[in-house]
Symmetry: C2
Subunit: 236 residues, 2 copies
Amino acid sequence: MTKGKDHHYDADGTTCIGYLALPDGHGPFPGVLVSPAFAGLSDKERATCDRLAAQGYVALGVDYYANGTLAKDREEAAALMATLQSDRPLLASRLVAALTELRGLPQTQGQKLGAMGYCFGGKSILDLARVGADFAAGVILHGVYDAPSFPIQKMKANLLVCDGWDDGLCPPDAKVALAQELTDYCDDWQMLAFGGTGHAFTNPDATPSKGSGYSAKADARSWKALTDFFHAELHG
Amino acid sequence: MTKGKDHHYDADGTTCIGYLALPDGHGPFPGVLVSPAFAGLSDKERATCDRLAAQGYVALGVDYYANGTLAKDREEAAALMATLQSDRPLLASRLVAALTELRGLPQTQGQKLGAMGYCFGGKSILDLARVGADFAAGVILHGVYDAPSFPIQKMKANLLVCDGWDDGLCPPDAKVALAQELTDYCDDWQMLAFGGTGHAFTNPDATPSKGSGYSAKADARSWKALTDFFHAELHG
C-alpha cells in the first residue's frame, strides 16, 4: 500500500531512518515533515506521508528516536519518550535535522515547508517552532503543551493547533497557557478544539478511555483543517 | 448591490422586518438565519445574506429588535441591546420566530436549517440553541457567552464557535466556561480561536482598539470555516 521509501538522514552524527513519500510528476513541491506519536515512526505516519504526497507534498516522516526505533508496546514507547522529554534540546535538534534534510532535497528546492505531528510528535513541532526554526506552517494534532527547558524564540511558523476538549493531556488550563505562549511568541496561530473528543482522536487503534480515543468525525475534521491550512500557507 | 428584499414576519404579534435573500434556480434550498451585531439588522448582515444566497442558501436576516429597528450610533445600539440582555427569554423568542418563519418558507421545504450571528447576534444563536430549538447547525462569530436567565435545554444544533483570543468580550475564562456548558448540553461542537485577534474581527468599520478590531485574515478564515461547516452540516 505505501508508496514512499525508507530515507536515511543524519542528525548530528546519528543516523535517522525516516520515510520519504514523493508526489507524482515533476517538482519542486512544498514539503511537509510528519512527526510521529510516541511509539516512533510507524505505518500510521507513513500512511499520512503517502496521503500528503497524493496531495502534492514531499512528505518526510521523522525518526526522532533515531536508528529507526519503533516501540513494540506502550511501556517501551513511554520509556523512549521519557528520554527525549528529559532532553528537549535533543528533541528539537532531531526535528531541526529532519527539517534541514527536507529543505535539502532536490524535490523541495525553493518551496515552502510545513510540519505536522501527533501527540508527542505534536510537542516536537511546537519545539521546532520554539527554537525559531525556519518553516512556514505547523500543525499540532492532540499534542502536549508543556513549555520546554530551553528559552523560547520568536516563532517563524504559522501554527494550527487541533485538540479534543476532553483530552487529559492538554486540559483547559494547558490550552490557555499555550495560547498565552503563542500570543507572546507567534504572530499567526489558530486553535481548533473539538467538543466531546479526547486524546489520540486520529488513531483508530487508540484504546477508548475517559479523555482518549478515536473519533472518526474529529479525525476527518482535523484532516480537512490541516490540508486546507497547508494549502493556504505552503503555496504561492 | 443587494439582491434580497425586506421580509416582514411575525414574532408573537410583533412585526419584524427581516431581509430575505434567495438563491437563483429552483429550490428547495437549505436555509440560514443571519443574526446581526448589536446595532440591529444592517447592510452588513444583508450582504452576508446575499453571499449565502449566492452559495445556495435561503438566507433570512433577523430583526431581533423588531419593527426594523436599526441603531444610529453605538450609544443607541447599547441601549437597545440592554433591553434584550435583560430579557433573554424575549431574545430567544425573537430568534425562534425567525427560525419558524424560515422553516415555513416554500423555498426551504424539507431542507435543513442553520443559523449564524455576530457579536450579540452570536449570543442570540447560542440562546436559540439553549432553548432546544430545532436547527441543524449554528455558527457564533465573536459572540458573547454569558449564560442565559432561562434553564439551558439539550441542544439539537451542532455548533461552531469562532472568536479572537484577545477578544475582551469573551476572555479565556469565558471561552472555557462556554466549552464546559457545551460539553454538558451539546453533542457536537467546535471552537476555533484566532490568535492576535480581537472582537468584531469581521467588521471592516470596527474601531481598532485593544481587544477589538477588524482582521482581514480572521474574517476570511472564519468565513471559510463557516461555509465549510454549513456545507457539511446542511446538505444531505
